[in-house]
C-alpha cells in the first residue's frame, strides 16, 4: 500500500522563492537561459543579490557606458573598486564616492558607519592608504523629530567609524530638504594615496592560486542588504529590515587596513577584493570574472560567527571587515603570518580554477551528524552570469510633469522674487540666508569628526572651501570637493547634474589645483517608473556633457536607485566628487579674504533664474521663473583663469558664488577673515537675482591693488567679464546696488536701507554660527557657539 505524504502546508498566496528574493519572472527565465537548467535555491539566492540593482547596475549600465572614462594619468577607471589617477613622483591617488542611503534610514548609526567602512575598503583594496573622507548628507526638515534622530545617528556613525580608523573627515555637504524625510542620503567619498607600483587589482588570476578570506568571521548580519534594502522602495515594514543592515567594527577595519597594506607592500598578493554587498558571492565571482577564471569554494572552510548558518546565509552575508585575497600556494604561510600579527582570522576557502565557474561545495553530513569525507556540490554558476553577463534592462524614460521643490515650512504662500523691490531689507534677507539650515556654519557637525589625524590637513571641513591635503614628503597637495545640486535637478536633471560637476570642479580649481577626475554617486528613484528613469538618464547625460566640456574623465561611481517612500521621491541628487592636484601647497588659495585694503573683483556675470536656489527656498519663486542657465565653455574659461591667476600669485583669495548667491559668498569671504568689505555692484535684472541668485561660473576674488590690472587683463584674455567692485576692510559688510536694475524704492521711503546692505560682520557671523545647532535643537552646541 502506498501512503500518500501529507501535503506541505503552504499558504496559497505565498510567492515563489525568486519573487520573495526580489527577482522578476523574466529575470528567472534569464537565469534559466544562462544555466541551461533551473537554479537551485542557493543559486537563486546568489543570483538575487548579484542581479540586484545595487550590484548589477542592471538599469543604469547602458547609460553609464556613455560616460567619458579616459584621461591624462588615469590608471584605473570604472569597473575597479576605485578610480586611480597618477600624480607624478611614482604616486597615484585612488578615490570614489558611494551611497549607504537605505541602511542609514533603517539604522542611522550603523548605516553611516558601515558606509564609511565600505568605501574605505574600496580604497585600500587598490593598495592605497586612505587619507581622507568627505561625506555628503541629506535629510528632511531639521525641525522634525525623526530627522533629528537620523542626523544625530548618522553624524555619530560617520565620526564613530572614521575617527577610530584614523582617516580624517575633511569635508562634505549637509543639506536639508523635505523630500529626504523618509529617505536620507548618506554618500561617502574616500581618497587614498598609493605608490603606483603597489596598485592592486581585484582579480583572481592563475588557476591553482588560493582564495584566502581574512578579517572578521562571517555572521548573519546584512543578509540580503543589496537586494532587500538597497534595491527596493521603502514600505511600512522598515523595522523588519533591520537584520539586513550590517554592523561595523572600526577597530577590525583599522587592523584590516594595516594588514592589507602590509601584504601588498610585501608583494604577497596576486589580487585583493573587499567583501561588501553580496559578500562572498560577489567577491569570488567578480574577481574570477575579471581574470577570466573560475573559483572553487569550500563552504566548510569559511570561518563563521555562529553555528547553524545555512549555505545561502554564508554565501550572501554582508558581514563587514572581510577581505578576499588571491595568493600563490607557496606564499600562504607568509600571508597567514601577517594576518596573525594583526590578530586577524585567515582561512584558505578554495582556489582559482580555469573553468570560468563559481563552484560551491560542502561536506555531506555523515550518519553521526559530523561532516563526512564526501563532498556535495551545492552551486555551480558561470562567474560571468553573476557579473559582466548579468541581466541588463532597457528601461523606459519619459519626462515627468514639471515638479517644484516644496517651500520651507512657514515660507510665504505667494511666490516672489521681488523681496528687495518690495522694500524688504536685503541685509535681513542675507542674515536669514546665512542662518538658514543649508547655509549656516557646519561647525557643529564637522567638529564631531577628526579632521586632522594623519597630520596632513592644510584646509579641512571647517575652512569653508575645498579640502586641501598635503602629500607628505612632497610639496604637492590633493584638493577635494563634493557637491550635488538637487534644487536645480528637480527642475532640470540634465542641468542639475552638469551644474554639480561645474561646482565641484570649480571648488577644486579655485584653490589653484588642476582637477584630475570625477567620481559620482547618482541618487534617484525607482527605475521602473519612466519619469524617475528619465531623471537618471538626463543626469547621466548632464554628467557626461559637463565632463567632456571640462576635459575630465569619470573614474568611477555608484548608482543608488529606489530612493522613494510612500510619501514620494527624493529630489534627484547627483553627488559629484572631484579630486585635484596642487603642485605647490604653499600657493593654495582659500575662500576667505586675507588683507585689508585688497581690491575685490567680481568675475563672471549673474544670469536670471531663481528656481532651485536657497533664496527660493525661503522666499518662493515666481511661477514663470526657471533655474539659471549654464554655459560650460564659460565655466571652462573661468577655471582656467583662476588656476593661472593662482599659479602666478596674483590673488589673495578666491571664492565661488553658489548657495545663497553673491551676497552670501561675499559675506562668507569677509566673515571667515574677520574683516569687513565695501562693494558697489551693478544690478543687471533684479536685486534678488544679483544678490541671491545662484547662476554658476562666477567668482569673488581679492587681490593686492598692484595686481588688479594683471587680474583684469587675464580675465579678459579668457573672455570673462571682470569688474573691481570694492575693497576689503572695516568691520561691516556694505553692499550698494547700482545701475539700471536698482529699485529706487529706498528713495521713495526716504531710507537708504532697501538699496544697500550694511550689516556688522559680527551680526552676520552670529546668524551663521547659530543657524545649524538652533535648527537641530542642539542647545548645548548653540550656547557654545554664542561665546
Amino acid at each position: 500500500m502506498i501512503v500518500a505524504e501529507p501535503p506541505v502546508a503552504t499558504p496559497a498566496d505565498a510567492p515563489p522563492l525568486h519573487r520573495a528574493l526580489g527577482l522578476t519572472d523574466g529575470e528567472l527565465d534569464a537565469i534559466r537561459e544562462r544555466l541551461g537548467r533551473d537554479p537551485n535555491d542557493l543559486e537563486l539566492a546568489m543570483f538575487s543579490v548579484m542581479w540586484s540593482e545595487h550590484c548589477s547596475y542592471k538599469s543604469s549600465r547602458p547609460l553609464l557606458r556613455t560616460l567619458p572614462t579616459h584621461g591624462e594619468g588615469v590608471v584605473a577607471g570604472p569597473g575597479e573598486n576605485a578610480g586611480v589617477v597618477s600624480i607624478g613622483d611614482g604616486l597615484a591617488v585612488a578615490f570614489k564616492i558611494e551611497s549607504h542611503n537605505h541602511p542609514s534610514a533603517v539604522e542611522p548609526y550603523q548605516g553611516a558607519a558601515t558606509g564609511v567602512g565600505g568605501i574605505l575598503r574600496d580604497i585600500f583594496t587598490m593598495g592605497a592608504r586612505p587619507i581622507a573622507v568627505l561625506d555628503a548628507l541629506r535629510f528632511g526638515d531639521p525641525g522634525d523629530a525623526r530627522t533629528r534622530h537620523l542626523v544625530d545617528g548618522v553624524v555619530r556613525g560617520v565620526g564613530g567609524y572614521g575617527n577610530c580608523v584614523g582617516v580624517p573627515t575633511v569635508g562634505g555637504e549637509l543639506v536639508f530638504d523635505p523630500s529626504y524625510a523618509d529617505n536620507p542620503l548618506v554618500n561617502v567619498m574616500a581618497i587614498g594615496l598609493l605608490e603606483e607600483r603597489h596598485l592592486t587589482r581585484a582579480a583572481a588570476p592563475g588557476p591553482g592560486n588560493l582564495a584566502v578570506l581574512f578579517g572578521s568571521a562571517t555572521g548573519r548580519d546584512g543578509i540580503g542588504g543589496a537586494s532587500v534594502l538597497a534595491s527596493a522602495t521603502f514600505g511600512d515594514d522598515d523595522p523588519s529590515k533591520r537584520p539586513s543592515v550590517q554592523v561595523g567594527d572600526p577597530f577590525a577595519e583599522k587592523l584590516l587596513i594595516e594588514a592589507s597594506l602590509e601584504l601588498i607592500e610585501a608583494g604577497l598578493l596576486e589580487g585583493l577584493q573587499d567583501l561588501g554587498a553580496a559578500g562572498i558571492t560577489c567577491a569570488t565571482s567578480e574577481t574570477a570574472d575579471r581574470a577570466g577564471t573560475g573559483m572553487y569554494v569550500n563552504l566548510d572552510a569559511i570561518p563563521r560567527r555562529e553555528p547553524g548558518m545555512e549555505p545561502f546565509e554564508v554565501m550572501i552575508s554582508e558581514s563587514q571587515e572581510r577581505m578576499l585575497a588571491i595568493v600563490r600556494p607557496e606564499r600562504y604561510d607568509e600571508v597567514a603570518a601577517v594576518c596573525a600579527k594583526w590578530n586577524l582570522p585567515c582561512a584558505s576557502i578554495g582556489w582559482v580554477t580555469d573553468d570560468g565557474h563559481i563552484t560551491v561545495v560542502a561536506a555531506v553530513p555523515g550518519a553521526d551528524g559530523q561532516p563526512s569525507d564526501t563532498v556535495e556540490m551545492l552551486a555551480r554558476i558561470p562567474a560571468a552570469a553573476l557579473t559582466s553577463d548579468a541581466i541588463v534592462h532597457d528601461r523606459l524614460a519619459t519626462p515627468p510633469e514639471r515638479r517644484r521643490l516644496a517651500p520651507a515650512p512657514g515660507a510665504p504662500e505667494a511666490a516672489s522674487d521681488q523681496l528687495p523691490e518690495r522694500g524688504m531689507d536685503p541685509g535681513a534677507v542675507l542674515q536669514a540666508l546665512l542662518g538658514s539650515p543649508n547655509l549656516a556654519s557646519r561647525r557643529a557637525v564637522f567638529e564631531q569628526y577628526d579632521s586632522t589625524v594623519q597630520a596632513a590637513t592644510a584646509a579641512g571641513a571647517t575652512s569653508g572651501g575645498a579640502a586641501v591635503i598635503r602629500v607628505t614628503g612632497t610639496s604637492k597637495a590633493l584638493v577635494a570637493a563634493t557637491d550635488g545640486n538637487a534644487g536645480v535637478s528637480a527642475a532640470d536633471p540634465w542641468l542639475g547634474a552638469a551644474m554639480s560637476v561645474a561646482e565641484a570642479t570649480r571648488n577644486v580649481a579655485i584653490t589653484g589645483a588642476r582637477p584630475l577626475g570625477v567620481t559620482n554617486c547618482l541618487n534617484y528613484g525607482d527605475p521602473t517608473k519612466p519619469d524617475a528613469f528619465w531623471q537618471l538618464s538626463e543626469a547621466v547625460r548632464g554628467l557626461g556633457d559637463a565632463c567632456i566640456a571640462l576635459g575630465l574623465p569619470v573614474t568611477g561611481g555608484n548608482v543608488s536607485l529606489f530612493n522613494e517612500s510612500a510619501r514620494g521621491r527624493i529630489a534627484p541628487t547627483p553627488q559629484i566628487g572631484v579630486v585635484g592636484l596642487l603642485d605647490d601647497v604653499a600657493k593654495a588659495l582659500g575662500p576667505a579674504f586675507r588683507e585689508a585694503g585688497d581690491t575685490i573683483l567680481l568675475i563672471g556675470e549673474a544670469g536670471p533664474g531663481l528656481e532651485g536656489s536657497e533664496y527660493a527656498r525661503i522666499a518662493g519663486v515666481a511661477p514663470e521663473d526657471g533655474p539659471p542657465g549654464l554655459d560650460l565653455a564659460v565655466e571652462r574659461q573661468l577655471q582656467a583663469f583662476v588656476r593661472e591667476a593662482a599659479d602666478r600669485g596674483l590673488l589673495d583669495s578666491a571664492q565661488d558664488i553658489s548657495g545663497g548667491g553673491f551676497a552670501v559668498a561675499l559675506a562668507e569671504a569677509a566673515m571667515w577673515a574677520g574683516l569687513g568689505a565695501h562693494v558697489r555692484v551693478p544690478v543687471s535684472s533684479s536685486p534678488a537675482v544679483d544678490l541671491f541668485g545662484e547662476s554658476p561660473s562666477r567668482l569673488i576674488v581679492s587681490a593686492p591693488a598692484r595686481h588688479v590690472p594683471a587680474v583684469e587683463l587675464l580675465a579678459r584674455q579668457h573672455g570673462l567679464p571682470v569688474e573691481a567692485i570694492g575693497s576689503v576692510g572695516g568691520d561691516r559688510l556694505i553692499v550698494e546696488l547700482a545701475g539700471a536694475g536698482a529699485t529706487g524704492a529706498a528713495e521713495e521711503r526716504g531710507s537708504r536701507v532697501a538699496d544697500s546692505i550694511d550689516v556688522a560682520i559680527t551680526d552676520l557671523e552670529r546668524a551663521w554660527r547659530h543657524g545649524l545647532p538652533r535648527a537641530l535643537g542642539w542647545t548645548e552646541l548653540e550656547q557654545e557657539g554664542a561665546r
Binding site: 564613530g160 572600526p250 577597530f251 583599522k254 567638529e447 586632522t452 597630520a455 557654545e784
Partner: protein
C-alpha cells in the same frame, strides 16, 4: 641621533604622525610593537593617539595590560622619559603612571578642533624649549578628554607643580573650569596635561605632532617635541645625572 620609541598598539592611529613629528624635531623615531617586552634601547617613549584595542570598554583600559606597557612602566619607574598624547595619555592614566582620569567630554560628543593651551612650567623635559607661557595652538580630537581627579589630588597637583598644560583663550588667559568653550571637554581646572610626581612622565590631550608644520596651520607643537628630544639626548649622554634609565 637620539632614538625615541613610539608604541604601536592595534588601533593606534597617530603612530605614523608621531614618528614623523619626532623626526622633524630631530630624533631617530622607531615604532615599538605592543607585543614586545623591551624598548629597544630608546632614550624616551611616546604613546600616541588612537583607539588602542578599539577602546570599546573604556579608553586605554586594555592597552595598559599589554607586554610593552610592562616595559614602559619599568622604564618610567627608573626615571625614563615617557610622553602620552591623547589616547596615550588615557593609557598612562589607566596604568597609573600619571594621576587622574579622562572622562567623556562635557557635551558627550567627540570633538575635533583647534584649541589653545599654555605650559604651566617651562623647566620640564617636555616644555624646556616652549620659551614662554604663550598660548600654543594645536588640535584636539577626542571623545574622552575631560580631566578628572578629586579635589585633594587637584590641590596637591597644583602645589607640587604637576599641572603641565592648561586650556587658555587666544590671549593666554586661563579658560574657565567647566563651561568655557576654550576648555572644550570640561576638564577640571582647565587641565590639558599633567606630570607625574617625579617629573619624567607626562600626558596631554592635544596633539603637538599635528601642529608641527606652519603650512598646516600651526607649528606650536614642535617645541614640545623638541624639548623631549633634547631631554632624551641629555639622558642618553648622562644617564646617571639625569636620573633616567
Amino acid at each position: 641621533m637620539t632614538r625615541i620609541g613610539v608604541v604601536v598598539f592595534p588601533g593606534s592611529n597617530c603612530d605614523r604622525d608621531t614618528l614623523r613629528g619626532l623626526e622633524l624635531a630631530g630624533a631617530e623615531a622607531v615604532p615599538l610593537w605592543h607585543e614586545q617586552g623591551s624598548l629597544d634601547g630608546c632614550a624616551a617613549v611616546v604613546l600616541p593617539g588612537g583607539f588602542a584595542y578599539g577602546d570599546y570598554l573604556r579608553a586605554g583600559v586594555i592597552a595598559r595590560f599589554s607586554p610593552v606597557m610592562r616595559a614602559v612602566s619599568a622604564f618610567a619607574a627608573e626615571g625614563g622619559l615617557v610622553l602620552g598624547i591623547c589616547n596615550g595619555f588615557q593609557v598612562i592614566a589607566e596604568a597609573g603612571l600619571v594621576p587622574g582620569a579622562l572622562l567623556r567630554n562635557r557635551g558627550l560628543r567627540f570633538l575635533g578642533r583647534d584649541v589653545r593651551i599654555s605650559a604651566e612650567r617651562l623647566d620640564t623635559p617636555f616644555t624646556s624649549l616652549v620659551g614662554s607661557a604663550r598660548a600654543l595652538r594645536m588640535p584636539i580630537a577626542h571623545g574622552e578628554g575631560c580631566y578628572f581627579a578629586d579635589e585633594v589630588t587637584l590641590d596637591q597637583l597644583e602645589r607640587d607643580g604637576q599641572v603641565l598644560f592648561r586650556y587658555v583663550h587666544a590671549d593666554g588667559t586661563q579658560a574657565g573650569a567647566e563651561s568655557d568653550a576654550a576648555n572644550p571637554n570640561g576638564s577640571l581646572r582647565a587641565i590639558a596635561g599633567v606630570l607625574n610626581a617625579r617629573g619624567n612622565v607626562a600626558g596631554l590631550m592635544p596633539h603637538p605632532e599635528r601642529a608641527a608644520d606652519a603650512l598646516l596651520g600651526s607649528d606650536d607643537g614642535l617645541p614640545i617635541l623638541r624639548s623631549l628630544v633634547q631631554a632624551a639626548a641629555r639622558a642618553e649622554r648622562e644617564p646617571v645625572l639625569a636620573g633616567v634609565r
